[in-house]
Symmetry: C2
Subunit: 438 residues, 2 copies
């Protein structure tokens, strides 16, 4: 019977993320926060611990290989749709600012993180201190992207800079990790890393040209009326590029997915393809992605000094990213508000931070005791980012012609229009069917 | 690096099922056949065996826990959408015929299968002979449903009878299996089975009333403008009922999913919900479901007498279902062509047959040597059903006002209309966004 439990898990995830999202929205918080809370609440951290205390049995949603795979697919689809919504012109315009923001956003947390370690454990080895710093460098942009999409702020100047910075951040983080693991004992091969990054750029250009030609050809060919093949081919491109990015070029899979999205955005039928991924995202993959983050959390028991360290780590992680990226943005001539928006958008940490920490643990340069604080730091950053981000963009948005609440209303109206179109479509279809079988 | 291989597998599955489907359609075969062939071709059966012979390494798609879970979700979504497209009135009208068809469709294969065993192995124990017969009783309706949907013949009289019969067939098969496993040693508890079936009917009614009231209330409540929650709630209902059917009532999960679909069909916003599952089905779950069937196949090596037995088993399995169900349909007053359509639609075997066989093997009443022939029988039935079914409905459909090819054209036109609607939507959206951020 246990083999069917995944059905119930998915059901609970869909229901709870939806209900918690609705509650979040009523409370003027981004819906993403609700989805994260749902996983935390129904997972081992809250419901699991509670039921253990009350009934002596742990009764909660638990992480499973299926859920983590679906969550991985979820983040790939989020970045893929972000790519499809990105205007290359805009992104290129934000490229220089993005590079500077990413650079300061890597080095300030790295330095401050290492500094914190020297304060708490004065005799610590330099590699260990730097490794904890490295944990703080990796921004997890997917939650920021989902929040920006929800707020409709993806194509603002700040949104584009965040996106550009996050993409470059991943590559810088990669170089950083290569150097640090090299310092900690393994051989370092920076040339190879740069070659792979260059190789990936070439790969994206080649895939782009191939897909563009294929779509142009297919669009002209006689059976161009069958539309389903285009989203399928687009998704296949996304999966292939995500796979290739990780396994061939050693770059994050989400960068591959994002690049695939950008390719599709400029290809014929791009709009049509983009319109199809919305459903698969909100109906299955995105809820699982967000809930799964919460599910993976187990709150460790800690001593007072570790608790103090945790608080300090959280503060350092937030301030260093906010300050570092904000500084970079300011240096590039963005105004104070935009710099704050960008800094806030980059605060989010996620699976990459966890992976770096796990690697440090494996290499014996990070003490196991620090894993608890690191996990809590990631959770706190993940939850506060959307909250502060919404606030940061609210101010910015109200100075424009329409506010955010207006936009929600407009997007709701659009949904209504779409629904009536769909009703019309159903009616036409029923009519046709009726004529056919009468 | 291996942890990312699922991305490549999914990419190959999406590409290959799509390309093979297009080829099938060009060859005037149902697209479902192409999707099945894709899994067979890229799986261990063909590409795996070939690469083993040529290069000494097996290089092919292989079944994985993720793929089988996604395939299970796929068949659940197929049956869920079938439920949403079912008109309860029509189904009720076909109920009596469906019952008779299911009844003859269970007993004729049971008898003929057992008879075949007595011919090939005269001294066989009665339970063993009957068990092989039982393997032949379970129709796997999902492939038939997908073919009927593709042909646009779901709501014909034959289509409705097939659907009704397949649903009753599952329940009869369940009773049958209970009796036979009881005969083979375990305790039999028919009363409990009937109680559970009655309980399930009550459960469906209660869930239906609850969901209907919820949707009516939600439709009137003030925030009824947010549409995304409806498909999410519908999917949650589907998953919950599939889970409950299996674990609480001991009935197949697909019957639970189908019932959930029927509930949604009669609820407010039912059309809107139904329109959303098309994408998630063709973009991810259905291709994986069909490819996975092919992937699970490994062709066993067999002796000449077993080969003979295999041929006989295939013939008996096809003829007994076709004859049994056709007879039942004829008895209910359907005409010759309709009886043939119904018989052909019920020929398809699938995972249930495999499960029954595995249970027999486990209980030592089915000899292991027969597993190879049984697997081949299932593959052959699965592949020929859509081919003959298309042919059977082609004749029937041409006597109506429109032919099948007309319908494809109409549905293509509809797709074009939808696309231009979507383009309009994108334009409106871009316009609104532009006004908002200028």
């Amino acid at each position: 019977m246990e083999q069917y439990n995944y059905l119930l898990s998915l059901c609970v995830i869909l229901m709870s993320t939806k209900i918690f999202s609705i509650i979040s929205r009523r409370a003027q918080l981004p819906q993403v926060v609700g989805a994260l809370m749902a996983g935390l609440f129904f997972g081992p951290a809250v419901l699991g611990a509670l039921s253990m205390k009350l009934f002596g049995i742990q009764f909660c949603l638990t992480p499973s290989p299926l859920l983590s795979r679906l969550a991985e697919l979820g983040v790939i689809v989020i970045m893929f749709t972000a790519g499809m919504e990105t205007n290359i012109q805009d992104l290129r315009a934000s490229g220089k600012a993005g590079f500077v923001v990413a650079l300061t956003g890597v080095f300030v947390p790295l330095g401050m993180g290492a500094g914190l370690m020297y304060v708490f454990e004065p005799g610590i080895a330099m590699t260990s201190a730097i490794f904890v710093g490295a944990v703080l460098t990796a921004t997890s942009v997917s939650i920021t992207v989902e929040t920006l999409k929800e707020l409709g702020c993806m194509s603002t100047k700040s949104g584009n800079t965040i996106l550009a910075a996050a993409l470059i951040d991943d590559i810088l983080g990669l170089i950083c990790l290569t150097i640090i693991t090299g310092m900690a004992g393994e051989q370092v091969n920076l040339t190879l890393v740069f070659m792979k990054i260059l190789g990936f750029v070439g790969f994206v250009v080649i895939m782009g040209l191939m897909f563009y030609s294929f779509m142009t050809w297919s669009n002209k060919a006689q059976d161009a009326k069958n539309l389903r093949r285009y989203p399928v081919m687009g998704f296949a491109l996304c999966l292939f590029m995500a796979w290739a990015a990780e396994t061939v070029f050693g770059i994050a899979d989400i960068i591959g997915a994002f690049s695939a999205g950008m390719i599709i955005a400029i290809s014929p039928k791009g709009n049509y393809i983009a319109s199809k991924f919305d459903t698969i995202a909100y109906l299955l993959l995105t809820p699982v992605f967000f809930a799964n983050i919460g599910l993976e959390v187990t709150i460790p028991s800690m001593s007072l000094s570790l608790l103090l360290f945790t608080v300090a780590l959280v503060i350092v992680s937030v301030i260093s990213k906010l300050g570092g990226c904000g500084l970079g943005a300011k240096l590039c001539g963005l105004d104070m508000r935009e710099s704050y928006q960008i800094g806030m958008g980059m605060v989010c940490r996620g699976e990459v931070a966890l992976i770096v920490a796990a690697k440090g643990l494996e290499m014996n340069v990070i003490n196991e005791a620090y894993m608890g604080p690191i996990i809590i730091m990631i959770i706190v950053c993940t939850i506060i980012t959307p909250i502060f981000l919404k606030d940061a963009f609210k101010g910015a948005s109200q100075s424009k012609e329409y506010g955010i609440s207006d936009q929600f209303e407009l997007s709701d109206k659009l949904d209504e229009v779409t629904e009536s179109m769909l009703d019309a479509e159903t009616n036409i279809y029923t009519l046709l069917k009726g004529r056919m079988y009468e």
